[in-house]
Point group: C2
Amino acid sequence: MTTLRQNEDKTPHIIHGIEGLKRELSEKPLICLTGMRPTGKLHLGHYVGALRSWIEMEKIPNMRNYFLIADYQALGDYLDDPEKIRQSVVDIVIDWLSVGLDPKKSCFIVQSYVPEFAELAFYLNMFATYTEVMRNPTLKDEIAKIEKRETNNTLSMWFINYPISQVADILLPRGDIVPVWEDQVPHIELARKIIDRVNKKTGAHFPLPRALISETPRLVGIDGKDKMSKSLGNAIMISDSLAEIQKKVQKMYTDPHKTSIDAPGNTENHVVFMYLDIFHEDKNLIENLKVRYRAWGSDSIWDGEVKKLLVTTLDAFISPIREKRAYYEAHPQLIKAIIDEGAERFRSEAQEVLLELKSKMKILNYGG
Amino acid sequence: MTTLRQNEDKTPHIIHGIEGLKRELSEKPLICLTGMRPTGKLHLGHYVGALRSWIEMEKIPNMRNYFLIADYQALGDYLDDPEKIRQSVVDIVIDWLSVGLDPKKSCFIVQSYVPEFAELAFYLNMFATYTEVMRNPTLKDEIAKIEKRETNNTLSMWFINYPISQVADILLPRGDIVPVWEDQVPHIELARKIIDRVNKKTGAHFPLPRALISETPRLVGIDGKDKMSKSLGNAIMISDSLAEIQKKVQKMYTDPHKTSIDAPGNTENHVVFMYLDIFHEDKNLIENLKVRYRAWGSDSIWDGEVKKLLVTTLDAFISPIREKRAYYEAHPQLIKAIIDEGAERFRSEAQEVLLELKSKMKILNYGG
């Protein structure tokens, strides 16, 4: 207990899980900034790793959530395929709505609709040193790859600027909380350092963001090898049809030695059971099935049965999402309005932040 | 003649002097972007090196001139002294008006009043590689100084971004012509490369800017050693009083061997004569004085007399400027209005450029 507390004191900028977040709540509302790059429809990995906790956060009365669709960041990689970005922005809004996120409770923001992000980044550049930005782990990795010629990418100025662009993403909604994976904590630390410098140099009082680290690991793909990713072809989309779910569950990695009901099975790294653990509500039932899978003989079960159960479970989870999706797909004007209204609402708040910064920097109202 | 033409063909992006510029004029208006960093009142070096030709350009009917007050660029260096920037922005507008520039004919733009500069730079970053930006000579010099610890500056992200920020400065008013010193031509070449890439990748037709190189060298300071610069203490301000002009002309570097009227004088590198060559209208009179200065005996003249002539000449040049300055200083609301109106007028043009770029990039109107 003492050890835990000591660790927590050393990293007060890190909060563990939604339960940890709830302990942080006070009368003062907390602002959360999180988001996604629009590079395709969303899959179960997005749901488990992000959307599920966003839905939780939306239920907390004292939290204001800003969900960013980082099209500017995605464009840096897909400059030659803007059609992909266009479609993905719409798909993400539909996916968010379909899982139950509410643009009345939260703010959906398309990054390129808010030029204030660019303006803020422009100013933050004055407070950031080249050296500290180049220490960013993602940047370092990418530069190393280029130097070793492991990639054909050329390093663009967009890429060099993306750590500071992320600081602007956080500061513009005055973000207190940023959900990240453990390996992204350095981004939050850079943001804290730069915002702290802005505050000290100008006398502003912008919040220093804290990282909200997920307590659940990233969802593994149906191959059981890598985390779920559309580009790896191991993903179940939250918009998949029953037939697609069936096909994908059929391909799932299980225990290759469980060749028949008479062979003992291993439930470790068994993708079907991993998914059942997450998506099936009756935990006792699943534990009981695992015992039977590990056993052999007449009371045992084999892959066919657990796969069938998973198909039913996933379809029960996905079909209301799919239904809502069909509705929104049939009402494109609704999506367009949500995109436009979100940006408009956020821009007026964003302009206040810039006004505050520029006023503290004493660069407003020359001659006045 | 053939050689000259060949040279010209190799560097079609370089125009020599106002006379060269006049040969480029056609029915299509040419847009010129030029500007200054607001770091103090202006001196005769600014007049000779820039303002004089700006006044000429303002007289050319087929040219539209955009004069930028690059406060964002200056702030990168003077983050701890915003008061200096505030005062300098006002001083520069007053100096421009006092020498006769006309905000009705040209557009005066304070950079930080136009967030579209930041947004455009944000997009240009996607089209620029890190390597080509780092090849910028000013950046290379500064990095070398830091590596040799010749300076206490830390390299800020602002500095790394300033070559692209300059490309945005040029592209936002759709600049065709950018007056620069010879050593700044690489900036124009970078701008051409990046704008050309934007055009090729997106199908846009933004103009590729050309460098307008001054045919007069930089004005030397009163010490005769360095180019005129306020920070070197060798400058005559275009707002100096008669007493200040007298004091500074008195200190001017002349020929140390011309100790009396009986000693022969040297008019080479003689600062008083250099200034008379520029500011006195009667070239024959000055040539005649030079002959007499070089001679000795009763018909000779010495420093006292030529200095007196220069004081009269400079005061005749400066006093109408000083008078106008006094008027504008007494009417600060006029200056404020010029700053505000210039920015407002330019912003609507700037938004069109961004709309055009974003439409060509296909990132407008998602879902619509």
